[in-house]
């Protein structure tokens, strides 16, 4: 009795908001998977807090996408009733949690980008996106600080924590390029002053990441081959499993509330 997926009219601005909303929802969901399972109570709370920050960002962005689209869709329908191929998030963010080091490396790679991105988006000519950016910037600044401190301690910690952090960097590095990728549909928004060109953030991102990784006595891979596809709905096998859990209730009992 699964309910069918919705149709979305992906104008450039709707698509733009959905891509950022999906980033926040998927990473937020990944962090929520740690709830009750983190290595220590203190980090259990920290990860859940950050997950809730991201869920809040996702809700605002989905609501804005729904308003811009002007159809029958809303934040819940975007989250619960789109199929895996309709999701637009970065591949990096759907990668499984793995161990604590892997979760922190993923968080660090993204937060170091999101911090710059939201700060730049505060200057957007789109008043709603600028307002969302102003709120999100403070959250991502803390996410960056939290994950940076852990990068340093895992990398410069024990032999085992170092090895796990380095393995996570090596595995996830190829997913970082997608954060700076721009397609034609975003180019128009960038030229219109609505969106930030992420390529302009790359030098500062690399500087921040390199400095922390060096302090952590870790190393960035030499390879510059980058994976992409998430922005246009071509995902890794992991996202389908994530969505089957995230959406199971609404797919089985459409419109259920409690």
């Amino acid at each position: 009795m699964a309910v069918a997926s919705i149709q979305v009219s992906e104008t450039p601005l709707v698509l733009y908001a959905l891509r950022r909303a999906d980033d926040a929802l998927i990473l937020g969901h990944r962090l929520s998977e740690w709830c009750g399972h983190a290595p220590m109570l203190e980090e259990d709370m920290a990860l859940a807090n950050m997950g809730l920050d991201l869920l809040g960002q996702a809700r605002e962005l989905y609501s804005y996408a729904a308003k811009v689209e002007g159809k029958d869709n809303d934040e819940d329908k975007f989250a619960y009733l789109r199929d895996v191929r309709q999701y637009r998030n970065l591949l990096l963010l759907e990668q499984p949690n793995g161990d604590f080091a892997r979760t922190m490396v993923r968080q660090f790679f993204y937060a170091s980008f999101a911090d710059l991105y939201w700060r730049a988006m505060m200057m957007s000519d789109d008043a709603t996106l600028a307002a969302i950016a102003a709120k999100s910037e403070k959250e991502s600044a803390y996410h960056l600080r939290h994950s940076s401190e852990w990068m340093i301690r895992l990398g410069d910690g024990t032999e085992e924590s170092h090895a796990r952090a380095q393995a996570a960097i090596d595995d996830l590095w190829a997913y970082t390029g997608e954060m700076f990728y721009v397609d034609d549909r975003e180019r128009a928004l960038i030229n219109g002053g609505i969106a930030v060109d992420p390529a302009t953030l790359h030098p500062q991102w690399l500087k921040t990441v390199s400095a922390i990784v060096a302090e952590a006595t870790l190393a960035l891979p030499k390879s510059d081959w980058m994976q992409q596809g998430g922005r246009s709905g071509r995902h890794s096998e992991h996202l389908g499993h994530l969505l089957s859990e995230l959406q199971s209730m609404q797919r089985t009992f459409p419109g259920v509330t409690w």
Binding site: M40, E43, R145, E149, R153
Partner: protein, 95 residues
Amino acid sequence: MATPNTPLWEVFIRSRNGLAHKHVGSLHASDATLALQAARDIYTRRGEGLSIWVVPSGTITASDPSEKGMMFEPAESKIYRHPTFYDVPEEVGHM
């Protein structure tokens, strides 16, 4: 998780300007920076704080419970130390 790598820290929160930092609880963390982060995540989630102190629990010198009699009982019989033996004139109003 009381391991040598994650010692105990006491957390103090100041909720408003002009108030003192109040003890709110404790947590485990490997060092002061992570203790401060954890305190933020655990004890200020509902907007409780403007400022946080974390103090290594081991640095606190506490009174000995077995000396309770000597330490505290002598004060119990001296009710005249409470400021309740003064007549407050009407004009002063609520103090």
